[in-house]
Symmetry: C2
Subunit: 301 residues, 2 copies
């Protein structure tokens, strides 16, 4: 490193943690990540994990640290209570200070919706980043991940959202179920994906039968693994698109995501008759953390 960071930005999710060493004016000096996500840590392992990730940074403990994500969950480091919709993405001014450390560590709150009951932690910071870059944004967001979120933004506020367990169900079925051998490939059959999407949207109740068909077609008709994997994905995403039609049928969807899963939602929405474009989620998370840091500076001054 050529210079010392002024503050530390952290995205602490269930399975991973990402750390950025930042300057006061928003430059990234360095980036680290680790698989020591919240799901693998007990309460007293967060502080040592952070110290380890910053062990080569002189005077790291004098830098403010701003964290978003699952570190603020009940089972995380310190609970950062949810803010209820409708609300602007909550910032550092209502972050929870971690008490049992000399460091200045603050965890950003998540957002809750009382009816239908729903929660997010981490996504609100991506949304904060988006609204920093485009203050007048209004419309629908799709945030693919283990727990995919569909979010409506109006007048700078999260007005409504809905979480789908689609990503987690895909992971369980593709690695743990009778289908794990049938879909064991990283190749992708886009034509099969699009064909299956249509029938999944038309008949979502048959999903558990259409899934077993992937196994049976493998046995009886030699269905290739890339076709089976694409159809598994389409069956799950198709049901989700059928349920979220009110979110996407009348307006462009902004997909806040990365990699294959973001592209799959983009292709699915296009095939279903919607429109979508992708924005890189990591960039937005960091922008949201920067925005929280800026507010922290103002609040302190």
């Amino acid at each position: 490193m050529t210079s010392f960071p002024d503050w530390i930005a952290v995205d602490w999710g269930t399975s991973h943690v990402r750390v950025w060493l930042m300057t006061r004016d928003g430059q990234v000096l360095d980036r680290r990540d680790s698989d020591k996500g919240m799901g693998k840590l007990t309460r007293d392992q967060f502080a040592p994990t952070l110290a380890e990730l910053l062990s080569d940074v002189p005077d790291a403990s004098s830098c403010p640290v701003i964290i978003c994500g699952m570190a603020g969950a009940q089972q995380g480091w310190v609970e950062a209570p949810y803010v209820a919709t409708p609300c602007a993405p909550p910032g550092a001014e209502i972050a929870t200070r971690v008490p049992e450390t000399d460091w200045d560590v603050r965890i950003l709150p998540g957002v809750k919706q009382m009816h239908p009951a729903d929660v997010m932690r981490g996504e609100e910071t991506q949304i904060a980043g988006l609204l920093l870059e485009d203050q007048n944004f209004e419309g629908t967001l799709c945030l693919p991940g283990t727990h995919n979120k569909w979010v409506r933004i109006k007048a700078g506020q999260v007005t409504e959202f809905r979480t789908f367990m689609t990503g987690e169900i895909f992971a369980l079925i593709s690695t743990q179920s009778v289908l794990r051998h049938s879909v064991n490939t990283t190749d992708h059959d886009q034509k099969a994906f699009e064909a299956a999407l249509e029938s999944a949207m038309a008949d979502p109740s048959s999903i558990a039968a259409n899934l077993f068909s992937l196994r049976a077609e493998g046995l009886l008709h030699g269905l290739p693994t890339d076709t089976a994997r694409a159809r598994l994905s389409a069956l799950l995403i198709g049901a989700e698109l059928a349920a979220t039609r009110p979110f996407w049928q009348a307006e462009e969807v902004l997909i806040l995501g990365e990699g294959d899963v973001a592209r799959a939602y983009e292709a699915a929405l296009a095939k279903a008759g919607g429109t979508a474009r992708c924005v890189d989620a990591e960039t937005l998370t960091l922008a949201g953390l920067k925005s929280a840091y800026a507010k922290l500076g103002k609040a302190a001054s």
Copy 2:
């Protein structure tokens, strides 16, 4: 044991194996089971496993052994090729003889359906048992299990069937997903089951969101685990009932099953406006194996 068996009946499933010591005239002398299902065995472990289960039976190797279930799968002991629908439940006359043993071991075939692709192994023997007891039975069967089957029987034949992965998806979600703590109970909230069933049937596409709601309602509203577990079950069974309406809406369903899962399908069908009654599956499996043995005797004589 007071007398020697004349033959051995075996139901060799994916996770369990059940063995009955039988007399020529169909009396059960003894019953054993073990968790050495097909899923845990390599090809060369089937013979020693069977020998171990029968180690106290004098002259066991001179008894004919008739096996139904997954022991006849590609990954089983010896593949017993499927018979295609429409067909009567296949009997011992087309069973596959296990070659690499001195014993007289025969494995019954499964049944396949080419379009939509589907397969069964073991259920066809339950159906044979049913048709032995009620030769004129026509109508719809529901066979709950890891892979639930809906089967249409006409003129003594399996004319059509459809398999739902509902049971396996329930097991994965309740033990491996983010919901595992939310549904961690053996208690059952029947009222919650019935209420959730209705909304699941009306809106099956929202299943992945309604599942996540169980977690969020736990966090925000203290949803009890028995209510969450009942709703998880209702969401999955509700989608299946919406898809299988043509099977059950115009006629009584015979549920071939055991325990909680059979009762859950019976209650769900009643709530959905269908009618159903349960028949014990193990009794039928054994009846089917007896019927195969009877045919074997005739074929040999």
